[in-house]
């Protein structure tokens, strides 16, 4: 596994997303409240592009009629059949052990540090003044 520079943080504001190609893979990066999450951009069901999906909250419930809306349970809903995937782990909410999408570790690093060669990176135009999102692919 190696870290690749995928995007500048300014490109993906909170609530936004970006589809990138990294090391031959389509990966969608989400910014949820300032944290970055990266998922393989392909729903394991029928192959839809998760980048086109809805970023939302997975509601849970311990009892019929009582809805638990915990806003930390971020999911991407597939644009087709609406399967929910946990942003952090890529696991589906319906059957977490059976259906999941690959999730990738992300890091944020300054251009300056990157140019120092602190982390292994692929070639990507990196400027000292900017900050970048790295994905471990």
């Amino acid at each position: 596994m190696a870290y690749f520079v995928a995007a500048e943080i300014d490109e993906i504001r909170p609530g936004q997303r970006k589809l990138v190609q990294v090391n031959g893979r389509d990966i969608v990066i989400f910014n949820v409240s300032g944290s970055f999450y990266a998922l393989h951009n392909r729903c394991p069901h029928q192959g839809a592009s998760l980048c086109d999906g809805l970023l939302t909250i997975a509601v849970t419930s311990k009892e019929p009629g009582i809805y638990d809306f915990d806003e930390t349970r971020n999911v991407i809903r597939c644009p087709w059949h609406a399967w929910e995937f946990d942003i952090r782990t890529g696991r589906s909410w319906c059957e977490p052990n059976r259906f999941r999408v690959r999730s990738y570790k992300t890091e944020v690093e300054s251009g300056e540090k990157l140019l120092e060669g602190r982390l292994a990176v692929q070639s990507y135009p990196v400027r000292t003044d900017d900050t970048y999102i790295l994905i471990d692919v």
């Binding site: 394991p44 192959g47 086109d52």
Partner: protein
């Protein structure tokens, strides 16, 4: 599901694509002043409460794939996007357009007939005449058998129409005599009748009342189709109209063998009640009923789905995408990988070519 690469050889015939109006204005050129005024004043009304939306709210806006919205207008309203995203992308060699709005379920029977006529005109002028890959269904005001017959007779000679369309939640079981003129006209025109799920019968969507949730509505669609298949069999429709063929769309299919078996047992036990039904129900189903693959069945063990397909007959299943709706089946990944090449070709196009005579 694992990826299955599909060769570029055979294209796909998609028996269920949903075109939509950009707005009601699209129909204005095809409606009389009276009906345009009526539509603007009283609107469309069906056997349910809401002016906009549906009684059981969908999971996504317009029940559509989130990636199927054109820049302007509703999903399914833009031929350019449909071409790019679906027809070209999936090598659809023939797609059948099934408009769901307006439907033949409009309460005012004359408005219903006018809307169906207008929609059929609209589809020709805006869709099939511009895109040779697209064919259409004749929308009929199905609660009025004679008005439906007139519409079918009018359209029968036009090669752009490949079937007659009605919705599955009719106000009586489909074999009821009020619908016989539809079957007669369709048979004479050598057109199959497609029964697509939805519509509003005016009765609860289960025979024990109204469920709470949309998921239940989805799960219960086959029940209406099962009742109507039993009805067309036991009312003797297949005997009466030897050329009548029925295509069931968007109800899935794995339920069909069990229905066949149940109806056979009952017919054997109580044939004296229905002496006009000359043969076991399963024979009519095997010869005169076709069924779309969408929504594709998902069993814990994939080979169980193929078993169900074999029980029905691999020659009776027609691929449908349901584009642009959310429960869309992708032609590449929506069929069981375990199908061999011959089976795949039958389902993806061969069976439809035969049914539609194209």
């Amino acid at each position: 599901m694992p990826e299955v690469e599909v060769g570029k050889s055979a294209g796909v015939i998609d028996c269920d694509i949903h075109p939509t109006l950009k707005s009601e204005l699209d129909l204005k050129p095809y409606l009389s002043q009276h009906w345009w005024h009526y539509l603007q004043t009283y609107g469309q009304r069906t056997r349910q409460a809401l002016i906009k939306g549906t009684p059981y709210p969908k999971m996504s806006p317009a029940a559509a794939r989130r990636d199927a919205w054109p820049e302007n207008g509703w999903p399914g309203s833009d031929l350019t996007l449909m071409r790019r995203q679906h027809l070209d992308h999936h090598n659809i060699t023939m797609g059948v357009l099934n408009p769901l709005h307006p439907s033949g379920g409009e309460l005012n029977p004359d408005l219903s007939a006018a809307l169906c006529r207008a929609t059929n005109d609209w589809i020709l002028e805006n869709w099939t005449r511009h895109e040779p890959r697209l064919k259409a269904s004749i929308l009929v005001p199905y609660e009025d058998g004679e008005a439906s017959r007139r519409e079918i007779d009018k359209r029968a000679g036009d090669a752009d129409f490949v079937q007659v369309l009605l919705l599955s939640r009719t106000s009586e079981p489909l074999g009821n005599r009020r619908y016989w003129p539809i079957f007669e006209a369709a048979s004479e025109a050598n057109l199959p009748v497609a029964m697509h799920v939805f519509g509003y019968s005016g009765y609860p969507i289960t025979n024990s009342g109204w469920p709470s949730y949309y998921v239940e509505e989805g799960a219960n669609h086959p029940a209406s189709c099962q009742a109507s298949i039993a009805s067309v069999i036991f009312e003797g429709v297949f005997d009466r109209y030897p050329n009548f063929r029925l295509l069931v769309i968007e109800a899935g299919f794995a339920w069909l063998p069990a229905l066949s078996w149940r109806l056979d047992k009952l017919w054997h036990r109580m044939r004296d009640e229905v002496p006009h039904v000359k043969r076991p129900p399963s024979e009519y189903i095997k010869e005169r009923v076709w069924i779309s693959t969408q929504p594709m069945e998902e069993a814990s063990r994939p080979h169980d789905v193929v078993s169900a397909m074999n029980d029905i007959g691999m020659d009776r299943l027609l691929f449908a995408s349901d584009y642009p709706h959310w429960d869309f089946d992708d032609p590449k990944f929506g069929l069981p990988p375990a199908l061999n090449a011959e089976q795949r070709d039958l389902v993806r196009s061969g069976n439809a070519r035969k049914l539609y005579g194209r």
